[in-house]
């Protein structure tokens, strides 16, 4: 019998099942990372859909095609094309870099502190999601490449969206990379970690570049051109016109880049003792009005009736949400500081919030006064 014809469909099933049951190495899959990225991409997709072509203005310079790889034609295919990329990102003759400006000891969450200064032609910043806190900045491209920067005295935690005090501890053990602008750099298994200014670290990761020579060359090129010391403003669709309690400040913003502007969709604020006490979020999806149990009261402002609930007794949680959209977004405010005397009345905050409409050109860079 001809074996070519004798291999039945059932045999194919058995063979495939056997291959699929091969011993598995430990998984690198992270459900938490999927949730985090998924949340960001939902935002990005929504903003891209409602926006247009984005060109980011950073410190007066455009991240535009002239900054992108010139030697990577769209028709490039196969390893040879990869080699062309590697060739095109080979640095010019080494020049002694100027000493970097000292990094700040903390970032302002209402500004973009650092950003890509150069991207290869097959990536762009349209729809990039940005997270800003006093201790780190994250710029996450839709394609997965991520830049995470910490201020002086901190380094970006490679496994979490956070920073840790001190210097990158694995610098002693991780493979040393080529210096980035004359400063020490390391490959940590997922990306490139480098000290961009004395005592201040940045991390580039997420697209798997570290796994190949060409990819590593690309990372080195991107790292060498990252822009630090930026003060690009973020735009919010609302403003707390009566300000925030004394001593409170913005502690985290989440925004999406569209039409050259970083548009905030979530803001956290609080005092030093409880940095994330207050969160205000806009979501295009209904069902985020998670006020449970039944609202204890309602707050009507601007023609919108907000559901409002609060914990009984001294201190505790408060939540308010708009069951109808405001300028296309379902707004929710949470105040969590259980066990602490309430420093903020959420109902009053809702009443004193101004919304600027769906057009981002009318949004503000000052989400609260005072």
């Amino acid at each position: 019998m001809n074996p070519v014809n004798s291999m039945s469909e059932d045999t194919v099933r058995t063979l495939l099942a056997d291959v699929a049951s091969a011993p598995e190495p430990p998984s690198r899959i992270s459900v938490e990372a999927a949730r985090k990225t998924g949340r960001r991409r939902r935002r990005a997709a929504r903003v891209i859909a409602s926006g247009g072509v984005a060109v980011l203005v950073v410190g007066g310079a455009l991240i535009a095609p002239h900054l992108r790889l010139a030697a990577a034609p769209d028709s490039a295919t196969g390893p040879a094309a990869g080699a062309r990329i590697a060739a095109s990102v080979t640095p010019a003759a080494p020049v002694k870099p100027a000493a970097p400006a000292p990094a700040p000891t903390q970032f302002n969450p209402l500004e973009l502190s650092a950003n890509f200064g150069w991207l290869p032609s097959f990536w762009n910043e349209d729809g990039a999601s940005v997270e800003e806190t006093p201790t780190f900045t994250v710029v996450n491209l839709v394609d997965g490449q991520t830049l995470k920067v910490s201020p002086r005295g901190w380094y970006p935690d490679p496994s979490l969206y956070s920073s840790t005090r001190g210097s990158f501890p694995r610098a002693a053990t991780d493979p040393r990379a080529s210096a980035v602008n004359g400063r020490p750099a390391y490959w940590d298994g997922n990306g490139l970690m480098w000290e961009y200014a004395p005592g201040a670290w940045a991390y580039l990761y997420g697209a798997g570049n570290v796994q190949s020579t060409n990819g590593r060359a690309l990372d080195e090129e991107m790292a060498s051109k990252v822009l630090f010391g930026q003060h690009q403003p973020l735009y919010t669709p609302f403003q707390f016109t009566h300000g925030l309690p004394t001593g409170w400040q913005a502690t985290e913003t989440d925004s999406v880049l569209t039409n050259g502007r970083l548009l905030v969709w979530q803001l956290e604020a609080g005092p030093a003792a409880k940095p994330g006490a207050l969160t205000i979020t806009g979501d295009t999806h209904a069902g985020t009005c998670g006020v449970q149990p039944v609202p204890q009261s309602w707050v009507t402002t601007g023609g919108i009736r907000w559901a409002y609930t609060y914990s009984t007794g001294p201190g505790g949680d408060q939540a308010a949400c708009a069951p109808k959209t405001i300028d296309g977004e379902y707004m929710t405010m949470y105040y969590y500081w259980r066990g602490h005397a309430q420093a903020l009345n959420l109902a009053s905050l809702v009443r004193s919030t101004t919304f600027f409409g769906p057009d981002p050109s009318g949004w503000t860079t000052q989400p609260y006064r005072g």
């Binding site: 194919v12 699929a20 990329i85 697209a207």
Partner: protein, 164 residues
């Protein structure tokens, strides 16, 4: 996403991750790529969790995301330009079964991506022709012809092994 839906998503993904990873492995033929593909799939699933809940079969919906992600990856500029070597050590067990597995993998790898996806959908996932057609965005006739071509290629590649 509401907390209850987050919990549903997490529970589903944890329960089906093994299956998803093995299917991805059949498509990619390496664990590094399989993990990347599975990660991409569960991320996309998160963004479409509401829609997924309305699908007649959640598994079928996820299978669709997985295969489309696989084919997209093969089409994307990045995949064309940069070939990422695997970081996992391939450590097959010794013996006849392991040899056979390597041969089958080599045979699968030799199939063009769409043909490989068709074979995996039809013979590993046991998808009916119509479902495979919907996932791949082709007609049922194309699925049948791709299946036939894939099977023939596998038979040819494995004939010497099967004879031995």
């Amino acid at each position: 996403m509401r907390a209850s839906r987050e919990a549903e998503y997490t529970e589903y993904v944890h329960a089906r991750l093994g299956w998803l990873r093995r299917t991805a492995y059949l498509l990619c033929q390496d664990w590094q790529g399989a993990d990347d593909l599975a990660q991409k799939t569960i991320t996309r699933l998160y963004t479409h969790w509401g829609r997924a809940g309305k699908a007649a079969s959640l598994d079928a919906y996820v299978r669709g995301i997985l295969v489309k992600a696989f084919l997209d990856e093969r089409r994307s500029a990045w995949a064309r330009r940069v070939i990422l070597p695997g970081v996992y050590e391939e450590r097959p067990a010794a013996g006849h079964d392991a040899d056979m597995r390597l041969d089958v993998r080599a045979a699968l790898r030799s199939l063009p991506p769409r043909q490989r996806a068709t074979v995996v959908l039809r013979y590993y996932c046991d998808c009916p022709v119509e479902e495979a057609a919907e996932i791949l965005g082709v007609t049922p006739g194309t699925v049948k012809s791709q299946t036939a071509k894939g099977l023939t290629a596998l038979r040819l590649a494995l004939a010497p092994v099967m004879e031995a």
